[in-house]
Symmetry: C2
Subunit: 255 residues, 2 copies
DNA sequence: TTCGTCCCTTTGTCCGACAAAGTTAATGAC
DNA sequence: GTCATTAACTTTGTCGGACAAAGGGACGAA
């Protein structure tokens, strides 16, 4: 028979990890608020009683997690993790897991429909203004595939924002980051692509303004189906997301 | 007038960042495959021609991003980023952004319904076996709130897995990580909670087996509404997610 | 073969150092 | 007194070297 568990496993995390955990705890607990300065590396050396190299390794961990960052003068301060930074990690993971466009399409269909429903229900005047502004800019660049694709991506971010649901905003982001880069290829390849895209956006804004949920859902579906039809002219939906999208995401992250 | 752009901005990233980027590129490009060993720190010192401290900072960045990890003997190797590790970062972000339970509830409603629809359509026998096994274990611990809550969380992970859609699996995870810890409180507080939860799971498995999408969606809705009713007996849906959940997530991450 | 021992490698941590860039304070001009 | 300039100090990024602890491998003994 086995002995009764007298001892709990002891915590033997390396020092840099303990440093990172300690700072993380303070931030998550709210004792350090977003924007608050963390000390200099030398301060932390004194407080934790470990070497500066060790502190620096801990800092890298937190920095990568988006919990702290350095301002223009490279001083450390806590910050609210930006979704886009975190979700680019997830997009990368999806690429490495070789997910297919079919998976992206299906998930996006769900997430974008949910976004528009939320937006129809709760969009503010400010949200509508942002969307209208985006539409104007889209119409101006309807001939430029790259610029239009960027506008399209922003449009859907704005719709999600208008849903006032940050969980949804965050959940749709990894898929969107992989999904929308293809838009450029499609708009380039399909003659009617650009105008149809802008028309769909117009109908979506209209639906939000009229609080017409059915129309919103309908046009979101059509919009995505347009994407799908365009994509299938180029490649199979069952192809896995390619590494080229990763490069796109990398460039975006650095921006 | 301004001069024509003769020069592109030069890349002045710190060395540790360049090291991390270089290794990341190789992994994402597929030249280093998951499981492949990265060299020792000393190897990397030689290859990159920088100091070991610099290499180590770069390694911390990649490690935190889930792209590389150390095996039992602490040697470095590339790996497929685990969703759960990455999404715990997102959960943390949601806590810091002080999202409300209403947002979690609404998003989860969408995501779990999509999961069950996928599962009904595409679940394999193996998926069903896993779900059945989970149900058995749930029934065995129906009186133990903590154990039951854990089973519930696993159940929904398995449903998402059965949908065969990894994008969906990933998208639902951050919300689920914050959502399901409350299950324990609810099962404890509401007398009928445990049995109702297990009954819902039974109906869901049944719906998947019979490929009955409507029943699946119906019972998912009921299941979530049960959660909501239980939760509202304890607190307002508009309360922001508390820091206590963060601690829960931290403990889980360390496991 | 299996076990234990010795040696080498690797990691985690420490110390001290320095150049570059930023910050602060003091200085001088108006 | 205000503003610009310079000098002194601080902080970061990087480097070199060092050492203890733990792991892995080779070697020989039972």
């Amino acid at each position: 028979m086995s002995l009764a568990p007298l001892f709990r496993p002891i915590d033997v995390a390396p020092a840099y990890q303990k440093v990172a955990d300690a700072i993380e705890r303070e931030i998550v607990n709210g004792r350090i608020k977003p924007g608050d300065p963390i000390g200099t590396e030398h301060d932390l050396v004194r407080q934790f009683g470990v070497n500066r190299s060790t502190i620096r390794e801990g800092i890298r961990v937190l920095e990568e997690g988006g919990l702290i960052s350095r301002d223009s003068s490279r001083r450390l301060h806590a910050c609210l993790p930006r979704y886009s930074k975190l979700t680019s990690r997830l997009s990368r993971a999806l690429v490495l897991h070789e997910v297919t466009f079919r998976e992206l399409y299906e998930a996006s269909m769900t997430l974008e429909v949910a976004s528009i429903e939320g937006a129809v229900e709760r969009a503010t005047e400010e949200n509508l203004a942002e969307l209208a502004d985006n539409l104007l800019r889209s119409e101006a660049v309807v001939g430029d595939a790259a610029a239009l694709a960027e506008c399209d991506a922003e449009f859907h971010v704005l719709v999600a924002k208008a849903s006032q649901n940050r969980v949804l905003q965050l959940a749709r982001e990894p898929a969107a980051q992989l999904f929308y880069p293809t838009t450029e290829m499609i708009v380039t390849g399909v003659a009617e692509g650009g105008p149809r895209l802008v028309a769909a956006h117009r109908h979506l804004i209209d639906a939000i303004r009229r609080r017409d949920s059915e129309a919103g859902v309908l046009w979101t579906r059509r919009h995505l189906q347009d994407w799908r039809r365009g994509f299938e002219k180029i490649a199979s939906l069952d192809r896995s997301v390619e590494h080229m999208y990763m490069e796109h995401a990398q460039a975006a992250r650095r921006r």
